[in-house]
Amino acid sequence: MKKVIYYLFFYAVFCLLQFFFGRYLNIGGVFPNFILIAVVYLGLSRGKMGAQTMGFLYGLTWDSFSTDVFGVRAIMFTLIGYFSGALSKNFDKDQIFAQITLVVAANIIYWLGFSLLYFVIPDGAGSYKPFVVSVYGSLKIFFTVLITPVVFFALNAITNRGRKYF
């Protein structure tokens, strides 16, 4: 039951951050990918099972809010959650270098997977151009990586404080 509450709380916080507070947290229109950080954090702290399931749910939610092809993000976040969980025994989530490395890798997987899926199903791509490195995309990755230690620190603090509840 505690786990369920933890995951529900986690889900709600990051959905709010990503979908409702984006307009307040962006810098020049560039907004970090909080959900990606959350999935990587879950993978490192809770393992594959929690991270992949939450990744799938986050992906579905984001797909519902976006105009992209439904299911693309669900697949990408499931993959990222699974691989983050698989690396949780090799990486220490408290080390900033490990956090940044994993988030950079997750961003690259996300971009490559996204491009590959849209390359295979081009009719849903809209204005998105697969495998094209844009300034906006690069800035988004940079911003996400920059904010990662802060998010990890906050999450660690909340988890430690709420350990008796979660």
Binding site: T53, T67, V69, K89
Partner: protein
């Protein structure tokens, strides 16, 4: 670093989630999901823009479904049309075959004083290929023993093929001119040289009793001699392919290739004399 153990079914769940994601992509759930999202959004914050979006999305969704239904109906219609055309084409091919056959038969030359009865060849034993064949007409069609049998070649020419030797009600047995038992009076076309054609159970016939002083050569055509009591005079038989080089005081021989074997043999023409009163009919 984490030390906790993963549940055993983690990998299975991973694949199930991935497959579910791919299924969502493949079944193109984007329009209905967008419609539901817009509807929820309108329920939460009713405004004109959200309502417009709902109607637009619903319109697109309905349009897509309508297009799918039309495409399916069109597909069914074209499949039926295609089937009809295939049937017509099949009928056309059959009709064309029949037409070609009839046109071919119409081009067959008329033999004076005899009626042509067309019959299908129903049996030809491989071991007796050059000896006998069976046709599908017999005494019921007015045929009887001894009648000459010819074959139509591509040019509509009738070539001597054999004689009826056995007649039943609905079938007859024909002894071919290539049968070793057959001998037919023939002559060299254009040279008026009379001789005798004898079969020897192959596609060749032996031409014997050619006077040694006669000039015959390879390529000369053989036709039925006026001495033949069965075949009409002048009917083509074959073509000489070799002349014996052996010197003889009386006669020389030649070998000829029969015309009736040059084409696939499916039909035979039986020449029934019209002025006779069927006196020789098989009883």
């Amino acid at each position: 670093m984490r030390d906790g153990k993963e549940p055993r079914y983690t990998n299975i769940v991973f694949f199930v989630l991935l497959i579910t994601g791919f299924v969502f992509i493949l079944i193109r759930l984007t329009p209905p999901v967008r419609l539901i999202k817009n509807f929820i959004y309108y329920a939460a914050y009713p405004n004109v823009s959200a309502a417009n979006q709902i109607f637009q999305t619903a319109g697109d969704f309905a349009q897509n479904i309508k297009s799918m239904v039309y495409v399916r109906q069109e597909n069914i219609f074209y499949k039926q049309k295609n089937q009809e055309l295939v049937d017509k084409l099949r009928n056309y091919n059959e009709m064309k075959e029949q037409y070609d056959n009839l046109a071919h038969l119409l081009a067959v030359e008329k033999i004076k004083g005899s009626k042509s009865v067309f019959a299908k060849i129903t049996a030809r034993e491989p071991s007796e290929w050059y000896q006998w064949l069976i046709i599908n007409k017999g005494s019921a069609a007015g045929l009887y023993d001894g009648l000459p049998v010819a074959v139509v070649t591509d040019g509509g020419r009738l070539c001597a093929a054999g004689r009826i030797v056995e007649t039943n009600s609905f079938s007859s047995k024909i002894a071919l001119i290539t049968n070793i038992l057959s001998s037919t009076p023939v002559r060299i076309k254009g040279k008026n040289i009379s001789c005798l054609a004898e079969g020897f159970n192959s596609n060749l016939i032996k031409i014997s009793y050619i006077a040694s002083n006669e000039n015959i050569s390879v390529g000369d055509e053989i036709e039925i001699s006026p001495l033949s009591s069965a075949f009409p005079s002048g009917m083509p038989v074959g073509k000489i392919i070799s002349v014996s080089s052996a010197q003889s005081t009386d006669f020389k021989t030649a070998v000829a290739e029969v015309f009736f074997e040059s084409d696939a043999l499916y039909e035979a023409v039986i020449l029934v004399p019209q002025d006779e009163n069927n006196s020789g009919q098989n009883k």
